[in-house]
Amino acid sequence: MPRRAPQGTQAVQRALGLLRSFTPEAPEHRLSELAAAHGLHPSTAHRLLGVLEAEGLIGRSPDSQAYRWMPGAPGAGDAAPSPRYNGLRPLEPLRTPFHRRTAALCESGAWRDWSGYTCVETYEPTPEREYWAVRNAAGLIDVSPLFKYEITGADAVRLLDRMMTRDFSKSQTGRVMYTSWCNEDGHLLQDGNVQRLARERFLVSAAEPCLRWFEDCGWGMDVEVRDVSEEIGVLALQGPRARAVAEAATTGLDFGAMRYFDLAAGEVGSGAGGAPVTVTRTGYTGDLGYEFWVAAEHAEALWDALVEAGRDHGLLPAGLLALDMVRVEAGLVLIDVDYVSASHAEIEVLKATPAEAGLGFTVKLDKQADFVGRRALVLERDRGPAWAMVGLEVDWFELERLWSEIDLRPQVVGQPASRKPTPVFAPGGWQVGQCTSRFFSPLLKKYVGLATVHADAAALGTELDVEVAVGYGRRRARARVVRRPFFNPARKTAVDPMPGVDE
């Protein structure tokens, strides 16, 4: 027989449940919302909330329409003012707008800092299932910590054309452009996506802060740059089933018509009246995928809709370890791993031009507008880049050979992508560069890596040696320069992508 809580206990439980709803991240709640969320009759909820308020555990919003979290109230999940910070609250890790959802699913307890945000490294103890979900079904990745800047005004195109290496005179509303931006010396500051939301409205996403740089570049222009980083939550839905999941989770979007790097606006959920969401057919996985941009207050509704729709398609939430594995397979460079931003490279040799970082395709030297770094990049074009970003591949038999020296089978599988640079040599010779991202791809069954090497060692098919750890030793593995991306399924860019398009 189910045990029933005594009357008094039940009231305490309910009151504590209500109290726990108030957190620094979700400080305000209306009565009706709380009653619904806790399965209480509104009058019961009202009574309990009244007690909590009288006891000083919660307060009222300025317009008294809602109950409000009280800083410092016991049990409200808040940290007390710290003497160490002279009475200020200590700087807590930031939470993305999806945090409550991701935290509930993070069984491993493995978190990682990303731009101050607490992000899931891997939901399960090992990232394998999350990695395979992206390649075989669908993965859902919280990428909200990206910096986001809204650029509006009559001169928005002019500003972007002045800052960016891509030709923004050709940008169209409803399209996303991937671009680099450089300093005056033509050295890379960052790379990122620019959404054209309207004729005079853009959204730039970037890995690192760049408000000041954008504002300075737009000095005197009729343009406003606004940091909207914390206002927008971003979810990447990636994998062969991404379209089916996206379709089931949203309304008002035509995924069949949506091309690679298209952008469209729709609503969350299957019925009308859902939260507005912007969808871009972009991602950092090299697979079929979409990114969803939603106002922070609707973030959880978006998450819930996607997870619900994904239930029938093998969707798994995926952490940053899995993301890093698939992005290496996709041959996509990562700032401050595969190249160092000129904004914090202490010495010249660490800096890279877009061409040297493998982003030469984003540089449009013949566009109408002059842009920051152009003069230097024209000179570079004439004399040729000194370095090149290449894909390196070490085949299975080479791995077997190296590990057989210590009587082991290759111990390469199941390890996350390494971001520690390792030297690259001419065969049996001098160092010609460094390999900055690498891992053994269980999909390709090869060791693959991104490397920066002297331009004359970059031709496809060139044989190079890359240093690998074999047991306690360091060995040189024979590698070959191969085309990037290492993995490039047709579904990534297919028009009207359907399941099984790569078979």
């Binding site: 399960e124 103890p125 090992t126 394998e128 299932r129 395979w132 075989n136 079904a137 089933r241 089916a244 239930r311 029938d312 398609h313 093998g314 085949d395 299975w396 038999f397 791995l399 077997e400 590990w403 009587d407 082991l408 089978r409 290759p410 111990q411 390469v412 599988v413 199941g414 053994f440 269980p442 999909l443 390709l444 069954k445 090869k446 399941p499 099984g500 078979e503």
Partner: protein, 553 residues
């Protein structure tokens, strides 16, 4: 002109063809059934539901086969099944995860000593796997010659040249520490229950680990010799990690398709609907085949991937075999131990099964799930079959392919693959008619429902396959999934026949390359690779000898 004919387009036949074609030979593969694959076969048995009809997981596939034939480029895509769940009565379970520390905690609930011993056991089995990894790279006669050379310098009777690699392997084997050699002998001779008893005390863990010792074999974990079957399953690997298993996207039929594409990329031709009647002999050597329709196809080399009852029986006229060896060959092939013991029940289900021990969806559903709650349980299941019945409460090894590859079933629905023991080839009472098949299927569902209540209501379609179906569809006589029991009397230089143990047969130009040759059994491709390399060696030798016995391309 065709240089080589391969009989049978199962995974081994296709591997052999790919290696020969890759070396520049003009190869034709002849398959009797309408489809390639043999026992590596996928089928959309019900609209929207795709099954791996027979074999269901991949681990034994040799890395050298994968990489020499560039199978990844041709479509090999193995999704790991990292965990094993053994549901137990009363809502309990034994769960082994990818993370060894979590596995320790799961097992410690049953026995702390066993949880700790598992680390040691796995270490020892990895070392065993590593030994087997080497042995698998050597043709048995060459290895025997190499060992003979070293031990007694007396291997002249084996007509084989020892390569440097095999000489190394022989040295490795002979230099093994005594305790490892002892372990090897134990594994060849002991029962798995006794072998595991050296490490473990808890019955549930012993039963769980013994699952690999009975797969495909008419053995109980308590039958001497079952430890070898365990070893056979520990020599598999995925990317250098022993004892890992993967699910091929699209089912195991996609493995065959992948190898077929590799073979075709080198110019091999694959003909289905082409049953072979017999090997054509001219001038006391194989000269091609005669098809069932009477057509003749001539070639200097004939390889058969079929089981010995076919390869050394049906396809050979004893009179054709030189030296009067034919009669003995045919007689021994007829006595080859190769009765089927396993059935396959493939279920299309309306949703994920809810196991009493772990009802909610989770990582456990993307791993193996085995019903083997105790050694007595499995032994009793075996007893049923020993006396000619199917197990009333069977051993079941399951996976849910649609969790690993959503394309296997319509959205939200799933396929459940149940490998079931025991189901003898011949029933003592009656025959495998529709009624017996359904009764067998019912026994499986009944057993499942003990651990996943409500599953009977989730079943949309059911495919029940028993050994005679394996025989009829995959062409394996008796329906033995390994083309013959894996026991010491049928291994190494005795597999499948003392006179045909190293891919060559007494009939020059006629070779064996299937699972009935050494280290066969499982989706390995290893025997076919070694067989093809032996053929190529023989052709080279004949070539340099100036047109001796074999015909060079």
């Amino acid at each position: 002109m065709t240089d080589a004919i391969v009989v049978g387009a199962g995974h081994n036949g296709l591997v052999a063809a790919a290696y020969l074609a890759r070396a520049g030979l003009d190869v034709v593969v002849l398959e009797s059934s309408p489809e390639i694959g043999g026992a590596t076969r996928s089928q959309e048995a019900f609209p929207g539901f795709r099954f791996s009809v027979f074999s269901y997981l991949v681990s034994l596939l040799r890395p050298e086969v994968i990489h020499e034939l560039d199978l990844v480029r041709h479509g090999l895509l193995l999704v790991p099944t990292a965990s094993t769940l053994n549901p137990l009565p009363g809502g309990d379970c034994l769960f082994r995860e990818a993370d060894p520390q979590r596995t320790y905690r799961h097992i410690a609930r049953h026995s702390r000593r066993d949880a700790e011993a598992l680390f040691e056991y796995k270490l020892e089995m990895r070392r065993m796997g590593h030994l087997m990894y080497r042995l698998q790279r050597a043709a048995p006669d060459e290895l025997a010659a190499a060992i003979g050379d070293r031990v007694a310098e007396s291997a002249e009777h084996l007509d084989v040249e020892v390569s440097a690699e095999v000489a190394d392997i022989a040295r490795y084997f002979l230099d093994l520490p005594a305790e490892r050699l002892r372990g090897f002998v134990q594994m060849l001779t002991m029962s798995s229950a006794d072998f595991l008893g050296q490490w473990f005390e808890s019955d549930v863990l012993k039963a769980a680990l013994s699952s690999s010792s009975i797969i495909g074999s008419m053995l109980s974990p308590r039958t001497p010799g079952s430890a070898y079957v365990l070893l056979h399953h520990y020599m598999g690997e995925v990317d250098g990690v022993y004892r890992e298993w993967g699910f091929q996207k699209g089912g195991t039929g996609a493995v065959a398709a992948t190898i077929a594409r590799a073979a075709q990329s080198h110019g091999a031709e694959i003909r289905t609907h082409s049953p072979v009647a017999r090997v054509l002999v001219s001038d006391r050597r194989a000269a091609g085949v005669v098809l069932a329709n009477g057509d003749e196809l001539r070639a200097g080399v004939v390889m058969s991937s079929a089981a010995p009852q076919i390869s050394l029986g049906r396809l050979l006229d004893p009179e054709d075999v030189p030296g009067g060896a034919g009669a003995g060959l045919v007689e021994r092939a007829a006595r080859w131990q190769s009765g089927g013991c396993a059935g396959k029940v493939n279920l299309a289900i309306s949703g994920l099964p809810r196991f009493e021990c772990m009802p909610e969806p989770g990582p456990h559903l993307s791993g193996g799930i085995t019903i083997a709650p105790g050694l007595d349980y499995v032994d009793r299941a075996y007893d049923d079959a020993k006396y000619g019945g199917f197990s009333e409460r069977p051993f079941i090894d399951m996976i849910i392919p649609s969790v690993l590859d959503p394309d296997m079933a319509p959205p939200g629905k799933h396929v459940l693959s149940c490998f079931v023991q025991y189901a003898p080839y011949e029933l003592a009472a009656g025959s495998w008619d529709e009624g017996q098949r359904e009764a067998f299927g019912d026994a499986v569902v009944r057993t499942l429902a003990e651990y996943a209540p409500g599953i009977e209501d989730q079943i949309l379609h059911r495919q029940v396959l028993v050994p005679p179906d394996i025989e009829a569809i995959a062409g394996i006589p008796g329906g033995n999934i390994f083309h013959g029991e894996l026991r010491l009397s049928q291994l190494f230089l005795l597999r499948p026949d003392p006179a045909a143990a190293a891919f060559r047969t007494p009939l020059p130009g006629y070779y064996l390359c299937g699972s009935s040759t050494q280290f066969g059994g499982g989706i390995s491709g290893g025997p076919a690779r070694l067989a093809a390399l032996r053929v190529l060696d023989d052709l080279r030798t004949a070539d340099t000898a100036g047109g001796g016995s074999a015909e060079a391309p």
